[in-house]
Amino acid sequence: MTQAVPSITDPALLGDGGTLTGRKPLIEIRNVSAGYENKRAKTRLIALRDVTLEVYPGEFLAIVGPSGCGKTTLINMIAGFMKPLEGTITVRGEKVDGPSADRAMVFQDYAVLPWRTVYNNVKFALENRRPRPNKDELATRIAKVLAMVGLSGFEQSYPYELSGGMRQRVGIARALVSDPEILLMDEPFGAVDAMTREAMQAEFEKIIAETGQTVFFITHSIDEAVALADRVVVVSSRPGHIKEIVDIDLPRSRFAEGVKSNPRFGELREHIWGLLQAEALGAKIGGAGV
């Protein structure tokens, strides 16, 4: 049976296992609204309305929602690129005010520097902030993450010599190398082909099991969200707001155990699909009515 998990604002209500219960949230998003001004039309497009959400340490949180519902807007605010119109975002109790070393990001379009080799792209994450690791430590750490993402041997390659999937591996390695507390990922596998995508999801689950980052993961693939996340936040459009937060009570490690043939996987998938479809239908009917 599909089981609808009620929207959660109180950590005590969180799912079974108790892994998250009672912990202090790492990221707190409180009544956040966001929008973009259109200077010519003198209007403001509201992208997100009154979003409240907590992310707990060590949790893998996925956000699913239709295109244009404000997912990128939300992650950009957590990263510190833009400020909410209303409400607050705090990380470990401190208000987000620009990017910081505790939050690394993996971009949908990879955003690797085309003029740098794989090695130097990863190094970029370690060379700007102080204290800078010394040369030996740098080399060890870079070698370690490159091995982790399966890019050993490609240190001296340039991004244009790599496939899309490999470029994103560089992006992931760059985000992991400084061992940040939080990994922000905006549709990281959205631009890679389906087969590579599946393989990368599996590898990524393994990597995160090893490194233990808190992951804030945006996707528009329900399968991907259910397969990877501890909780899935379903966002509806427009303006985006949280429709439901679904606990994913599937055992790990999921890919190793063939999660997609687990009946529970199908149930959760159906459930989320239902939520989003009602959304799409509602939007259509509402749009026609107005």
């Binding site: 955003a111 970029f124 994450a125 700007n128 399966g150 340039y158 496939s163 087969m195 393989a199 155990e257």
Partner: protein
């Protein structure tokens, strides 16, 4: 119910590194050179045959051999050498001045809004204005001398450089800027590690356009400026004297010069920004 084993996640095939030695013919590196030499030989031979047949008035269509011998004697008698040197020297100095002014200013315009707002109307007006229109004014101000010739080169080259540098900075991929911020780049680090490398190909194409426009500026200055020096002057005099072989010879020298510069810059461009040329093997 199902007894089917789930397929294990396949490792990405990209990861296994496969390299293979490539065996090419020994002649491969020379192939394009050989083709070019053959091509030019055929071209000049046909030219020679047409000229010998005198289907076109030899007054404006000399024999290819006459042109080559005019070039040879021109150099031997010290007629071409000093003029060529004059032009090359002027052009080089003009281009250096234009780069020193145009590149930093263009980069600044791209990065600092207020500088852009103030300078843009003048830059666009000057970039669009045909350079010849300035000659009378420049002659009025600077007279018929070298400084006038140099000024026209600088004015020709500097604006395309500025515009390209400005556009380059403005088109920096916003994702790369975000990546810079996420990974802690401060102002100067962002500029030197993200913005400038991204802009480099634009700077080079600015220099390319500067070279092309600068050459035109150089010739205009020498042809119309009445300074009595340079390849332009040589052209002018050869025309006046109905010296077709010399006229063609000078044009050939100019063509070789321009092609050399353009090819040289293309080479630089490939070296400086190999990521832009992804399909090249």
């Amino acid at each position: 119910m199902t007894t089917v084993q789930p397929a294990p996640a396949k490792p990405d095939e990209d990861v296994s590194s496969i390299t293979e030695a490539i065996t090419r013919s020994r002649w491969a590196p020379f192939r394009s050179l050989i083709i070019t030499v053959l091509n030019l030989t055929v071209f000049f031979t046909i030219w020679q045959l047409i000229a010998l047949a005198e289907v076109i008035n030899p007054l404006f269509f000399p024999k290819a051999t006459a042109m080559f011998s005019a070039i040879y004697t021109g150099f031997a008698d010290g007629i071409i050498g000093p003029e060529l040197w004059h032009s090359v020297q002027n052009f080089t100095i003009g281009l250096i001045i234009a780069s020193v002014i145009g590149i930093p200013l263009g980069l600044l315009m791209g990065g600092v809004r207020i500088v852009d707002l103030i300078l843009s109307p003048y830059v666009w007006a000057m970039a669009a204005l045909p350079r010849v229109a300035l000659i009378p004014l420049l002659i009025l101000i600077l007279g018929f001398g070298n400084s006038m010739q140099l000024t026209i080169i600088v004015l020709s080259a500097v604006f395309p450089m500025m515009v390209n540098c400005m556009e380059g900075v403005k088109t920096v991929d916003p994702s790369l800027i975000r990546a810079g911020r996420v990974f802690g780049a401060n102002g100067p680090q962002m500029y030197f590690k993200v913005i400038l490398p991204f802009t480099l190909p634009f700077v080079i194409s600015g220099i390319n356009q500067g070279i092309a426009r600068g050459l035109v500026g150089m010739l205009i200055g020498e042809l119309l400026g009445g300074g009595g020096e340079g390849l332009g002057f040589l052209l002018d005099r050869a025309g006046d004297q109905f010296d077709a072989p010399m006229l063609y010879g000078t044009l050939l020298i100019l063509a070789v010069l321009s092609v050399g510069l353009v090819q040289g810059m293309r080479w630089v461009e490939r070296r400086a920004a190999p990521w832009r040329d992804q399909s090249r093997v």
